[in-house]
Subunit: 307 residues, 2 copies
């Protein structure tokens, strides 16, 4: 039985590319049959990466059977994984997020988590010299993951290691980072095909703060005005999304990649309270608030979230 | 503030030696002040290791303050760590046990878990060429940890990597493995100074099976007859130990290192049921049952435990 390699339920570039990278490594270097799969439709940036490097779109699965060998990448949070994940045969976890607790394994397995910006950077490190055997498409996926997760090195999560790996890959592949990253971000910014509910769920994680459950949604874009033009209908879609996903409220941060700031939608008093308490800002009566410098959910939003 | 490096609450050789190894590495190689500490009195084998390599006994602490920087080694189980561990500043986790769930970190940290027999083997791998800078005492601790956790390569948890690291260290240190291991196991087997309750708790971990909570205690010894001579008073001490530790029953496995088998004490119908269901054996009316080949709690006892 092939090992399934997958990331979280909202496949962005890292959660789409890292399974492809690791499944290649397991199959071609380690000689262990593995298949990259997705837990949902890849976002537009991830779809661009697949097309650019001629990578077939991984199969989308909606669950895992008990005993299925799996490798989990880019998350260690059971809430972002299929129900029943603990009944699968979890072979390894490769991640760069905080330890959440909740995943359990039957025996000791390989777990590697490091505070890097990107799962693919950690995989590069774990592969060592074997990277030389990787086809261009795998290296291209790796470069794409790093540029995506670091917002082309703008995110405060970026480490010197992320940057060095990306620059070496770009040189190897003959890719000009600024123009390639601009193409990626343009793809990510094209949200015209998505409904409001889909936008709210595209890059969204659930957190509990002060007894309330928040869907913390992030939209990284080079064209924030396109998203903010849909502000009213996005706000109107929030209550239903929150209810369906078991949350009290959706927090939507529209991240302006180039200006390195976020705009948080402030539809009600609860979000106003969260915004003012979390980010030392004042919202007044406005229905949005700009948070200068805030681009990273992991490093700047979640650690500060308060109620 | 120095980073405190510690293992679990029942310091055996690995949980005593690994903090010493890693605190050395952090301080001397990484330039980050670190102190090895213990969460309890080291067992007789660990005490022998300290004396043999002229290592000072680490300070014993009974808790950690909120915000205290810590590195956790040889466990990822909150039940084996101080209360309030999640309020500490957990900087890293280095372990070789199954993922239990329950530890949480505020941000992404370094986590490295591999299915090796011994934490020290993983540390050796993480250190790479820096091991050459280690003093003899640190290398001696590393060798001791591996011989202890592998029962001199007898335990089925032993990997080729554990063995290779131990053999290279022994060659480097001029230590004859069979005679050194015999000294270590003799030290571990000298249990005369301990009360029955202390013996039941010396190397004990709590597990839930079928709605019951068991204190699964293991005594590794080259002289099982010494322990079994105390069978009646050990059984008499079980109910109080179980009650004080919030368990329903103590399961005591006396592991005969040299004969590679265990003797489980069977004081009542509950333990008889566990023994017969877990190990496909029949107890009859006997108050002990011998389990041939069973020497590893991690690999042979816990995965099979059933009620």
């Amino acid at each position: 039985m092939s090992t399934l390699v997958f990331g979280h339920k909202s496949p962005d570039t890292d959660s789409t590319g890292s399974p492809i990278i690791w499944a290649w490594y397991l199959t071609e270097v380690k000689g262990e049959a593995a298949e990259p799969v997705l837990l949902g439709e890849p976002n537009t940036e991830a779809a661009f990466m697949l097309a650019r490097w001629n990578l077939p779109k991984p199969r989308i699965i909606d669950g895992v059977e008990a005993g299925q060998p799996v490798v989990i990448v880019d998350t260690n949070n059971p809430a972002e994984l299929p129900e029943g994940i603990n009944a699968a045969d979890i072979r390894a976890i490769i991640d760069h997020h905080k330890l959440v607790g909740g995943l359990e394994t039957k025996g000791p397995i390989d777990i590697r988590i490091e505070p890097l910006a990107c799962t693919a950077t950690l995989m590069r490190k774990m592969m060592g010299d074997d990277l030389a055997r990787a086809p261009e498409a795998v290296k291209g996926a790796m470069l794409s993951c790093i540029l995506s997760d670091t917002l082309e090195f703008r995110s405060p999560t970026t480490t010197p290691e992320d940057r060095a790996v990306a620059e070496a890959l770009a040189a190897d592949l003959g890719v000009d980072i600024p123009s390639y990253a601009a193409e990626m971000f343009a793809a990510k910014s094209d949200v015209s095909a998505f409904s409001d509910a889909e936008l709210l769920r595209m890059d969204s994680k659930t957190y509990e703060v002060g007894g309330k459950t928040f869907r913390v949604s992030v939209l990284e874009t080079t064209s924030p005005e396109t998203v903010l033009a849909r502000k009213d209908s996005l706000v109107a879609a929030m209550p239903k999304v929150a209810e369906e996903d078991g949350a009290d409220q959706v927090l939507l941060f529209v991240v302006d990649i180039l200006r390195e700031q976020s705009t948080l939608l402030v539809p009600n008093a609860l979000v106003k309270q969260v915004a003012e308490k979390s980010f030392a800002t004042l919202c007044g009566d406005a229905d949005t608030v700009v948070l200068p410098g805030v681009v990273s959910r992991k490093k700047q939003i979640i650690p500060n979230l308060a109620l």
